[in-house]
């Protein structure tokens, strides 16, 4: 392969390098582009590679133009539009692949490379992790190597030498770009418009819940956020990361109260009483394209959410004004013990008691019977305990793959399948509560998280998505009740893997093998934790450089004590002096490297007592040294050294040969001591 590559004529090798870079640019996009487009792009690049290697002609415009039109039609069919971010990226990818078939001059190479740069950036819409950055760096290096190779004149050195030159350029460019990255002021927010939310949609909690919504999330191990605690980590079964509060039920789907029509308004006064010690932590939230941020109940204060104000609804949901399109970091202090809305008027209770008329009649009747009437009426606390006891005693199963439910979903679940996921338990529990006349609602969010080995931090993944319920008790306010824990207590005490039955389902087996969710112990889990730490540091240092943070960094510099500042200046001055001296020294010894080697050799022999006479040439010197005293090997090395030196000095060797000869001479120099 290598021999084949090096035998390729130069212009062909250049094109092959360019195609390689295009493939590297497009590879991450294959995860997000429609499959047909990825396949088409790969086929086009391959086609170009075959044309290049076989030395055939590129297809004419008569063939390319219909292909381009077909591609545009395909994009339109896939996205329903050709405008917007994602269709735009698809069009660019298509354009790049087609452009590869229409390259004739140096100018086309520039167009190709510049297009690749833009596509490289488009990749960050989807992922900005460490791996993305590493892949970007590798791709840019290949791109620049392709660009560099096209700039050579008649002589083009081997790839290793081209990369060497590129390496020296990067040695300058990388520190410079790091400096620019941290020092150049950032512009806050979008320059115009807002990033469209729809295009950003990803897996994550939505504003509604129907059976299966959260179970599908549980299949994704994508991290949602990392929380780093400065106070002791709360116990696992207290880690309820509040997301959305769902109050409206239409018989099948739970939706956020007033989700339709009304924008989230800040409730200026929330009737809340706080008790006990708060816990403090910092959350690094991945871009979700949604407008909610997560905190433990009850978020007392949320700091440092620059350029994106938030509101807290009366149900204690935290909603930002703009969708979160990049990784954000914020500090929260949460109160684990509180009384929320201890006094609700009957008017205020009513929305939390509503049930659609005629739906799930069996459940409603069962609940009413359980609660009793008249003097036999159970107190709310007793009613809750009775329902949870029922969940515990009856043969309910916790499963990620529940059987399908009919139209009366809660009836089917409670009296039929009796197998489900948190959403089934929370949903039906709230229906039962409301039937009993106890105000209740569903809360979705995340529960738990995986503790990272060394740090005092947790990583919460989509698979930690959870639904629980809240009931309102007079004088006590809203109280969290997690009916799932009645069925699968391990779900809330440990995590999903622990809650799932140990039956060898392919899913669990695979997860255990992959060490997802910290289920597997040992090296894989440890490595995963290390990686999470690194990702956390990465997102905080690289992705989270906001204008506010930059300002804070500068402020921090001002507060550095004078002594330290002077020391830093001194170190900097010393370093630059050393660097200057190094440059000067290199400049000074910039003679013929061959002569330098010869001088070294002569010095070496002089120390042995055979100094070279000024009039002596290498041949005469060789003859005299051969008569001198030395070991057999040294004699051979000396003779060889002088022979090679003479051949290089007075012969007509190519630069390449000279380089090899110098390397050989350096080796010989160590042997002829």
């Amino acid at each position: 392969m290598k021999a084949w590559l090096s035998n390729l004529p130069r212009d062909k090798a250049d094109i092959v390098l360019l195609l390689l870079s295009a493939a590297m640019v497009l590879a991450p996009h294959a995860l997000h582009l429609p499959p047909w487009l990825s396949a088409a792009a790969a086929a086009l690049l391959l086609w170009r590679a075959v044309i290049t290697v076989r030395g055939k002609r590129q297809p004419g415009l008569a063939l390319l133009a219909p292909m381009a039109l077909l591609g545009i039609a395909g994009v339109y069919a896939s996205y329903g539009t050709v405008l917007g971010r994602d269709p735009g990226v698809a069009m660019l990818a298509l354009l790049l692949a087609l452009k590869s078939l229409e390259m004739h001059g140096r100018r086309d190479i520039f167009v190709f490379v510049f297009l690749s740069f833009f596509l490289l950036l488009a990749n960050f819409f989807h992922a900005q992790g460490i791996l993305s950055a590493a892949w970007m760096l590798a791709t840019v290096i290949v791109l620049l190597a392709a660009l560099l190779s096209a700039q050579y004149g008649a002589v083009q050195p081997r790839l290793a030498q081209r990369l060497n030159l590129l390496g020296r350029m990067l040695a300058l460019a990388i520190p410079l770009s790091a400096l620019m990255f941290f020092a150049l002021p950032r512009v806050d927010g979008p320059l115009w418009g807002t990033a469209p939310e729809g295009a950003q949609a990803r897996t994550g909690l939505s504003d509604s819940m129907q059976p299966g919504a959260i179970a599908s999330l549980a299949l994704s191990s994508e991290p949602v956020f990392t929380a780093r605690f400065s106070t002791p980590l709360p116990p696992q079964d207290q880690l309820y990361w509040r997301g959305v509060v769902l109050g409206d039920f239409d018989g099948a789907t739970w939706t956020r109260r007033g989700a339709k029509g009304r924008a989230p308004a800040s409730d200026s006064r929330i009737d809340i009483a706080l008790e006990g010690q708060p816990s403090h932590y910092e959350v690094t939230l991945q871009a979700s394209g949604q407008r909610r941020i997560f905190a433990l109940d009850v978020p007392r204060s949320i700091e440092r959410l620059p350029g994106n104000p938030y509101v807290v609804s009366s149900a204690l949901e935290v909603l930002t004004i703009q969708p979160i399109t990049s990784t954000v970091r914020y500090r929260v202090s949460s109160q684990p013990r509180y009384r929320l809305q201890a006094n609700l008027s009957p008017e205020q209770q009513r929305p939390w008691l509503a049930l659609p008329a005629g739906s799930n009649p069996r459940s409603v009747a069962w609940a009413r019977a359980l609660r009793g009437s008249g003097t036999q009426t159970l107190a709310p606390a007793g009613a809750i305990a009775a329902v949870l006891g029922h969940f515990r005693r009856a043969p309910f199963r916790y499963t990620l793959q529940p059987p399908l439910l009919g139209k009366q979903g809660v009836d089917d679940f409670l009296f039929g399948t009796q197998a489900g996921f948190c959403e089934h338990y929370a949903g039906s529990f709230v229906v039962l509560m409301r039937a009993m006349g106890i105000p209740a609602r569903v809360v979705t969010g995340y529960q738990g998280g995986v503790r990272n080995g060394t740090g005092n931090s947790l990583t919460v993944r989509q698979s930690d998505a959870h639904a629980w319920s809240e009931v309102w008790l007079a004088g006590r306010g809203w109280v969290r009740v997690d009916p799932t824990s009645a069925v699968a207590p391990l779900r809330t005490q440990r995590n999903l893997d622990a809650a799932l039955p140990p039956a060898p389902s392919p899913l669990t087996a695979w997860r255990a093998l992959a060490g997802l969710d910290g289920g597997a112990q040992g090296a894989v889990a440890a490595w995963r934790q290390q990686w999470q730490q690194a990702e956390h540091a990465w997102s905080s240092w690289v992705l989270d450089t906001t204008p506010q943070r930059q300002r804070a960094m500068l402020e921090g510099l001002k507060n550095v004590p004078a002594k330290k500042l002077a020391l830093a200046c001194a170190v900097l001055a010393l370093l630059s002096a050393v660097a200057g001296a190094l440059v000067w020294w290199r400049h000074a010894r910039q003679g013929d490297p061959l002569d330098a080697l010869y001088a070294q050799f002569c010095h070496l022999q002089a120390r042995r007592g055979y100094s070279r006479a000024p009039h002596e040439g290498p041949h005469g010197y060789a003859a005299r040294l051969a008569a001198g005293k030395a070991t057999q090997e040294a004699h051979a090395a000396i003779a060889q050294f002088l022979a090679i030196y003479a051949a290089m000095k007075y012969g007509n060797a190519s630069p390449d040969e000279q380089l090899r000869a110098r390397r050989h001479l350096r080796r010989l120099l160590t042997q002829c001591r």
Binding site: M136, G153, L165, A173, I174, L176, W192
Partner: protein, 343 residues
């Protein structure tokens, strides 16, 4: 890049960094637009890595600027004086680009001012040198100064164009154009009829009685082809070339007693000044071809009769520089600094 009138071109054969100019190339301007687009995308979508990519690309462009300038800076330049040519033909200057640093230099365009000829591309290895020939039409007799040269290159990434101007310190002597179909040599009376020279060099060998074979000597540039001593060449190793030497026959009439003629500038007063020199040049060549010893009288200057390439060159030089301020054929080297000296 447009050539401007360059008032002062430094004579120092060393391209200091201060002599290298730089500007973005067309592709560089397009790259700047790309950077702007990348930056806007990074701002609009709040992409931390988008900023990283933008700044990294910008830094690569800055590195390219530095490297493009370094590709030229520090280059040592020398010009090898070209060999004399006749007016109306092409003079060739050999420019030597010498790289004294350990880094190779690549893809340097060498172009001549006012010339539409495609620039030649030079690569110079580390500690190496490359010779580039530039060809200039020699129109007038006298010294032809090497034209100003522009060295340029957009290596390594093509985003910036570095260039510098250089006046090579080399000149080529342009002999007067020999008159076409010049009249026969002005032989002294009595020999005119007998000495017939070929009208063209490839005619059969001379059967003239005025000259006789004097011997054979090693070929010298300028010896006519029909004088080649084929027998001697064949007898020898076939690599060395000999030409036959003639001298006026011993029995040729008087006036050629010394076997020589004198070419007089003054005798051609009927012609225009340049035409006189053209004819004299043609006669010098004719005399050299026929092997007739000849001298030249040109105003105050007199060249004694002789034969041979160096004599011919001396005569042609005198003709080329006739009337010019540095007409003296011996001191012309001193009006340039020693740096220009031939290698």
């Amino acid at each position: 890049m447009r050539w401007r009138t360059i008032q002062w071109l430094p004579a120092r054969p060393w391209l200091g960094a201060e002599r290298v100019h730089i500007r973005p190339s067309g592709a560089g301007l397009a790259f700047a637009a790309l950077l702007l687009a990348l930056w806007i995308a990074a701002v609009n979508y709040r992409l931390g890595l988008g900023y990283a990519l933008t700044y990294f690309s910008a830094s690569c462009a800055i590195a390219d600027m530095l490297f493009a300038s370094r590709n030229l800076a520090g280059l040592a330049l020398a010009a090898t004086p070209g060999s004399p040519v006749f007016a109306g033909s092409q003079a060739t200057f050999t420019l030597r680009l010498i790289n004294r640093s350990a880094r190779p230099r690549h893809a340097i365009h060498v172009a001549i001012r006012d010339s539409a000829a495609a620039p030649s591309l030079a690569d110079i290895a580390a500690h190496g040198e490359t010779a580039v020939n530039i060809v200039v039409a020699a129109q007038q007799r006298g010294w032809l100064i090497a034209p100003p040269v522009r060295l340029s290159g957009s290596f390594p990434l093509g985003l910036f164009l570095a260039w510098c101007h250089w006046q090579p310190e080399a000149r080529v002597l342009v002999y007067p154009q020999p008159e076409h179909n010049a009249p026969p040599l002005p032989l002294p009376a009595g020999t005119v009829q007998q000495v017939q020279r070929p009208s063209s060099p490839d005619s059969p060998d001379l059967p003239d009685g005025a000259l006789e074979l004097a011997g054979v000597r090693a070929y010298q540039p300028g010896d006519p082809l029909h004088r080649l001593a084929w027998r001697q060449i064949a007898r020898h190793d076939g690599e060395h070339v000999f030409s036959k030497q003639f001298q006026p026959a011993a029995d040729s009439p008087a006036g050629a007693a010394h076997g020589s003629i004198m070419l007089e500038h003054a005798s051609l007063h009927a012609l225009a000044p340049e035409a006189r020199l053209s004819r004299l040049a043609a006669w010098v060549l004719q005399a050299e071809r026929t092997g007739l010893s000849y001298g030249l009288r040109l105003g105050p200057l007199t060249v004694a009769p002789a034969l041979g390439a160096s004599h011919r060159d001396a005569c042609l030089r005198a003709l080329a520089l006739h009337g010019s301020p540095d007409g003296s054929p011996h001191d012309w080297r001193h009006d340039f600094p020693p740096a220009q000296a031939t290698p």
